[in-house]
């Protein structure tokens, strides 16, 4: 009855005698998919002819769930979408509610939010770096990446009370004030990070095997990147400016000095470099703000029950994976009438078939690594 059984039935005899093509199921349990992604690949020898994603293995219908949660409650669910940038997801939702309610967020809260966002971005890219190196067969970088990531998680734990799904954002500010140690710990992390960043190049970036695995693999032209709705480092690797923080600044990003990282290669190596350099830009943002956290409230005074006015609200933020859109349709009640999360992973996945055709099965792993797919984000 289910799709899966059919595929297996058709796939066991395997090959089509004339063309020598055969299908192979990658996933839903496969080491390279980092989650329950199911790809049906048509192969001719080692060459990929077609990649067909089958989704839904962890679809929780967060959009439907949010329809029965209030505007304070629904924020926590979004941590479970893209769990690696849960802070930024929460931030997007909080921003959308604030836009609807026209809540003025105190400056201290804004700065804290941006600091947390950038820390989350670094943590997410660290995990991506380690996991991608592991996909390519180098296991050591994974542990080295986790060393830095853990120190960010410790900072998060101290201030937000959790390591991964913090639920720190509330409409109108943040839930608690930062921990007194926060600034000290962040500075320690920046020192650690700057000491270790060269090792990343020694271990992975400069490695000739790695470069050969990455260069010219999965080339995405700028036109295709835009047409497929890609966002984040995937488009910036193709040279298309798409950083929401620069183009449609939210919070205090317009007052900050940072560069939008652009690479023109369009291949996996370009996407790799974008993420590596983005981490350094995030460090730059944190350095600007860490001593400049203004005094004041960390949360605006809001009503106990939030009611968005009738209408439609859309916010776009830049998560670690790309553009996250939150689209709330309100009927004036305490719960959203319809909510849509435009997740970056879903669109980035759709480009996989296009860039994978004609390359080897080993390249597919490299491409999936640099697209940085987080499956709960795709399935929502």
């Amino acid at each position: 009855m289910y799709r899966q059984t059919e595929i297996i039935k058709e796939a066991v005899p395997g090959s089509n005698g004339e063309t020598g093509e055969f299908t192979i199921n990658v996933g839903p349990q496969h080491p390279a998919t980092h989650g329950v992604l199911h790809l049906v690949i048509t192969l001719s020898g080692e060459t990929i002819k077609k990649v067909e994603p089958h989704l839904g293995y962890i679809h929780r219908s967060i959009e439907k769930m949010c329809e029965s949660l209030t505007y304070r409650q629904f924020i926590y669910v979004t941590s479970r979408m893209d769990y690696l940038s849960s802070h930024i997801n929460n931030h997007a939702c909080a921003l959308c509610v604030e836009k609807g309610m026209q809540i003025e967020v105190p400056p201290r809260a804004r700065v804290i939010r941006v600091l947390m966002d950038e820390l989350t971005r670094i943590a997410s890219h660290e995990l991506w770096w380690g996991a991608m190196a592991m996909d390519l067969g180098a296991f050591t970088p994974f542990f080295h990446a986790f060393r830095e990531r853990e120190s960010i998680n410790d900072i998060m734990e101290e201030t937000c009370g959790a390591r991964l799904t913090m639920n720190y954002m509330v409409p109108g500010g943040v839930m608690q004030d930062i921990h007194p140690n926060f600034q000290k710990r962040v500075k320690e992390f920046i020192r650690l990070y700057k000491r270790k960043i060269d090792e990343y190049d020694e271990l992975v970036t400069g490695n000739i095997i790695f470069q050969n695995r990455m260069k010219g693999v999965g080339v995405l032209t700028p036109e295709d990147a835009v047409s497929y709705g890609c966002s984040g480092p995937v488009t910036r690797g193709s040279g298309v400016s798409s950083d929401i923080r620069k183009l449609y600044p939210y919070e205090i990003y317009d007052k900050l000095e940072f560069d939008e990282v652009l690479e023109t290669g369009g291949d996996s190596f370009a996407r790799y470099l974008v993420r590596i350099r983005e981490m350094q830009q995030s460090i730059r943002i944190i350095e600007q703000l860490i001593d400049q956290i203004p005094e004041g409230d960390f949360q605006a005074k809001t009503k106990a029950v939030l009611k968005l006015p009738k209408g439609e609200f859309y916010t776009r933020v830049e998560t670690a994976r790309g553009e996250l859109g939150v689209y709330i349709v309100s009927e004036g009640g305490t719960t959203p009438y319809r909510i849509k999360f435009r997740s970056p992973g879903f669109s980035n996945l759709s480009v996989l078939d296009h860039i994978a055709r004609g390359s080897k099965i080993g390249d597919l792993v490299a491409m999936m690594g640099t697209l940085d797919l987080v499956i709960p984000d795709i399935d929502r």
């Binding site: 289910y2 839904g56 439609e312 689209y327 879903f346």
Partner: protein, 152 residues
Amino acid sequence: MTNEELKIKITELLPAASFEEGGEWLTISIEPGDWLSLAQQLRKDEALFFDYLFCLTCVDWKTHLSMVYHLSSTQYRHTIVVKAKLDRNKPEIETVSQIWRTAEFHEREVYEMFGVNFRNHPDLRLLILPDGWEGKNPLRKDFEDPVNMIRL
């Protein structure tokens, strides 16, 4: 282009379009039959150049469905929202997956979640739901799943 200029330009392209007020971006309401030609013009027109479809979704209004397309231009950075009202019992609209490739996946998602039939879609199959799914479309308002849905 500002919203005013866009409004003038789009009225030229499609005189039947009506505009909704109050949103952040220019919101255009159209009939489903006009959508494909409008979409092609929005994408092709040099002054508009809407090449980035960043959100495609549907809203169930209990009386009707409405498709919502968020379009943006990577060149001019202007944004519009296009809405098309669909019949709830037999929702049908032309696909735009050949204009914006991202629509292919998003339309498949809307197809299974709302039951909207996209005409001429290259590969209109279930994407998230298991094959052989029978029953209502999950994101419609009258969907009930007594087993898996928890009511608070």
